[in-house]
Every structure is written in C-alpha cells, then in structure tokens.
C-alpha cells in the first residue's frame, strides 16, 4: 500500500524478530522497517509488546530474528555496541540517572565522544536550544525535576550522541497534555530536519499526526499497518485496532 515510503531507502529492517521472557514469548516474528528520514509510529494496547520490540532492537531481551541497521546486522545482546552503531533508545520510564545532575546526564549521553571538547559543547548548545528548560537546571539533580523536564532530559541526553536513528518508548507517559504536545512538537521538528524516528506511543491520534507510517502491535504481533493520511476519524482508527 504505502508506495511513497517504499521508495525510501530502508535504514532499519527488522525481520522475524521474536523475544521471550523465560518460557513466555512476548513477541512473535515481527517484521518492521524504517526508511531514511521517516517517522514511524508503533501503536497498540498495554502489554502488546511495544516496549519488548524496542528493547529487542537494542539487545536488551533474549530474542531471535535479524535486525539490520544501515546494512549491518546488529549483534543480539551487546547493547553498548548497538548504541555505538548510532541507534539510541529513550526507554519507557526515561532511565535518567536520577542522583546525578542534568549536566552529568547530558555528558554521559555524549560518552562516545568523550563527554567534552568543542564537539560536545556544540551538541550541548543544540540540545539546550531545543529544550531551554534544561538550561536553567544544569546543576540540579535530574531526579528532582518534574516528569516533563525529566522526559526532556531523556530525549536531550539521547540526542547528545547525535544518533542516526532515535527510538522512543512512550515519551508522553504520565505527562500533562501541554508538555506532551511540546515534546512531540520537538520530535516532529527533529524529524523534519532529517532524523529518522521510531516512536512507540499509546496516544494514537497524537502519534498519527506526526507519523509517515504506523504499525499496530497486539498480542506480540503486527496486526495492522496504517497510513495516517487515511485516518480521518476515531472509527477509522478503531477499525485498524480491532479487526
């Protein structure tokens, strides 16, 4: 169906990805891809396996299948090597280093370039321009900030590595609508500037506003693919979710 996206070069190709927790398989042979410059949304109900999908890409679960990123097959269980290849995940729950300062968190985001130097300063200025609220809080401990500020820090920290693909797991979780809008707006801007994004989001209408394409995950499988331009109403969306 989506002819436009098919013409783009695929940068992330997930093939037959399955993941299990102990005896329970939480992800069943999922195929998914992200093209150059695309923002792809992954929707689906609680417990569908969305987080498991992103965590498996980053090598955080025991999984089978292949994940290819820019024509290289990613290692299965070496998260820091996957991060070095240029993919960064903003995990569910943000994963900020709470007892450390905002500044230290940003520095660790740039661990791969040594967390200092002209390049580091340039990246930091860019991130602070994107999230001015962080600028006033550089010396504050990250854990003492509001949820929205923490999410901004999580995204900002991820951007410090200048990723070539950004994965986000429900950045809107627990945030006020206004803050959510602010963060999603920033993500949209980053994407328009060329950053490919794979966004897991339960708030489907918000995600579909930004996305070029969307997948619906339910019970550990891809149950539908959506072209956001075809979604005109809640009924359209419900149709994709439930059939």
């Amino acid at each position: 169906m989506m002819s436009e996206s098919r013409s783009r070069e695929k940068i992330l190709e997930i093939q037959a990805l399955s993941a299990r927790y102990g005896q329970i398989e939480a992800l069943h042979s999922v195929d998914l891809d992200v093209g150059e410059g695309e923002l792809v949304a992954v929707l689906g109900p609680n417990g569908a396996g969305k987080s498991t999908l992103l965590r498996s890409v980053m090598g955080l679960t025991s999984s089978t299948g292949t994940v290819r990123f820019r024509d290289k097959i990613l290692p299965r269980r070496d998260t820091s090597a996957i991060a070095r290849s240029g993919i960064v995940l903003v995990p569910e729950g943000r994963g900020i280093f709470g007892p450390m300062t905002v500044q230290e968190n940003l520095q660790l985001g740039a661990y791969l370039i040594g967390g200092r130097g002209a390049d580091f300063e340039r990246r930091r200025e860019k991130v602070l321009a994107l999230f001015p609220r962080l600028k006033e809080r550089l010396t504050q401990t990250a854990g003492s900030m509001s949820g929205g500020e923490q999410q901004m820090l999580a995204v900002g920290r991820a951007l410090m590595s200048e990723p070539r693909l950004l994965l986000l797991d429900e950045p809107s979780l627990g945030l006020a609508p206004k803050v959510t809008a602010e963060i999603l707006e920033t993500l949209g801007r980053l994407n328009r500037d060329g950053l490919p994004i794979l966004l897991v989001e339960q708030k489907a209408p918000l995600a579909l506003k930004l996305a070029n394409r969307a997948y619906v995950v339910s019970n550990g499988r891809i149950s539908a693919q959506i072209d956001p331009r075809e979604i005109k109403s809640h009924a359209d969306l419900a149709h994709h979710y439930f059939n």
Binding site: T79, V88, P91, F97, Q107, L108
Partner: protein, 292 residues
C-alpha cells in the same frame, strides 16, 4: 582506674585498623555497584598485597616502593582475570547472583590454598615504611606506620572522590550502578566497567594489605577475617556507598578497640558483630541513611 593515655592509644589504633577495614569495604562497594555481586574474594586481594610484596622484598630485594607498586598492579590484573574467567562467563550465561557470589568464594579458597602451597603456612612480615621511633604526644605513642595507614587512606579517599565525581569514566561507573541498562543505552561499555571495578577493588585490597602487613603479619589465611570486617564496614556504611563504607570501617575499628579497652581482647569479634547487628536493626540503610 581510667588511663587516659592508654585510652587515647586505643582510639588511635582503632582508627588506623578502621581505615584498613574501610578500604576493604570500599572494594566491596565498587564491585557491588558495578555488578550487584558481593565479591568474597576481596580478602584474597588483601592477603596477596602483603604476600607478593613480601616475596618481592625477600627474593628480588627490590625497594619497598617498587615491590609494593608491582604487588598492587599484579593484584589489580588478577582482579581483571577473575572477572574475565569466572564472573563474566557466568554473567553471560545469566547465572543467578547467588551462583556468582559462590563462585567468588571459590576463587577466595583457590587463591588461599595456592598461596599455602607456594609460600607455606608461616606468617610473614615486611618492614615498616619509615623506620623511626614513634612520635609521642602526651602519653600516646603514634607509630609512623599508623600515620602511613591513615595518610594513605585519606589520600585514596580523596582520589576516589575525584575519580567518581569528576572524570567521565568515574561518572560512567556511577551511571552503571544507578541504572546499568540505561548506561548501556548511552554506549557505555558496561562489561568493561565491570572489569575496571574488579581492578579498582583488587588494587584497594592490595594497598590495604601492604599497609597493614608491617604492623601485623600476613599469612595465606588472613584474608577471610579482613574480608569479614570489610564486609561489615560496607554494610554499616549502607552497602554500595563507598564513603559510607569508609566511615563504617572507622566505626568498626573504633568499636573493636573500645571493646578491647573496656572488656578485654577476647571480645573484639563480639564487638564487631554487635556493631553489625545494631546497624541491621536500627539503621539498615547505613550510616549515611537511605541508599540509592
């Protein structure tokens, strides 16, 4: 009758042995923070620090500073080796924490027995670093080795604080202890941090061993008692908090010294275990309060 000079003397001795416990306790914390493992081979590092220095002094007749430095490096490398050939393979196989902790206990026994075979069971000692008569203040005499122990410990604490607070690698190690998964997601090589934590802990243990051997002695089996004291220091400090462990070590050293002073030397270990129990009951999160 209360003998103030003897009392002060006791406190000074307690302080110095407390510093040693503290250094060993920090070793426990550093590895625990990086991995969640309680490394029971920590005592072996202490023993080997003194023992290797002794061997280098007596066989190669190296100067103390050279022998000590080589011992520290060798023990640090041994720490990395243990991480590589014992801990990492278990880790990669998703072994339970319990299995990994038992494995470190096995390592402790192997090192102890190998040392027994190589150097025998006789206690060894090494000369004091500064061979001068003790300084006398009032009725209290403070040996130069005591000053070395306290001085080196304080310098190490300062260096560790700088390392963990100011350097990128130190911050990355802290990040691993706060959230290992999030650290890996930033591209921090978590397993290299684990190896580094073993090197650091082993070096700290070795330094503790070298510092204390001139005033005590070393033998193949001194590791375990020191590991237990260091372990108690770490718990009293609120496990996982290096500076808490150092304070815990000092508290433990002082408590033991006071028990010996007031009640006789037979009660040294009773005092140590009492300190542990009091903390477990009243302040399970340690001297510095709630852990991370």
């Amino acid at each position: 009758m209360f003998d103030l000079a003897y009392f002060s003397q006791t406190l000074v001795n307690g302080l110095s042995v407390g510093c040693i416990y503290g250094l060993i306790g920090i070793g426990f914390c550093v590895i625990y923070n990086a991995s969640g493992i309680v490394n029971f081979a920590q005592g072996a590092f202490v023993m080997l620090g003194g023992m290797i220095t002794y061997v280098l002094l007596t066989t190669l007749h190296l100067p103390m500073i050279v022998a000590g430095s080589i011992a520290i490096i060798v023990v640090a490398l041994l720490g990395v080796l243990i991480e590589r050939i014992v801990v990492r393979p278990l880790w990669d196989r998703n072994a339970t924490m319990f299995v990994m902790i038992l494995a470190t206990l096995a390592v402790q026994i192997v090192i102890e027995r190998t040392t027994l075979i190589l150097v025998g069971d006789q206690p060894k000692s090494i000369p004091v670093f500064t061979d001068l008569p003790p300084i006398r203040i009032g009725g209290v005499s403070i040996g130069y080795q005591t000053l070395w122990i306290i001085g080196v410990s304080l310098v190490l604490i300062a260096l560790l604080a700088l390392f963990f607070q100011k350097t990128l690698v130190g911050r990355a190690m802290r990040a691993c202890s706060i959230n290992r998964e999030a650290a890996a997601l930033q591209g921090i090589p978590v397993s290299r941090m684990l190896a580094l934590s073993f090197a650091l802990s082993a070096a700290l243990g070795a330094i503790a061993g070298i510092l204390l051997t001139p005033t005590q002695f070393t033998a193949f089996n001194v590791g375990t008692p020191f590991a237990i004291s260091g372990f108690i220091a770490a718990i009293v400090g609120g496990f996982g908090r290096p500076f808490g462990a150092f304070l815990g070590g000092i508290a433990l050293g002082l408590a033991q010294a006071l028990a010996v002073f007031g009640l006789g030397s037979g009660l040294k270990n009773v005092a140590a275990l009492s300190v542990l129990l009091i903390f477990l009951f009243l302040r399970p999160s340690g001297i510095l309060g709630a852990a991370k």
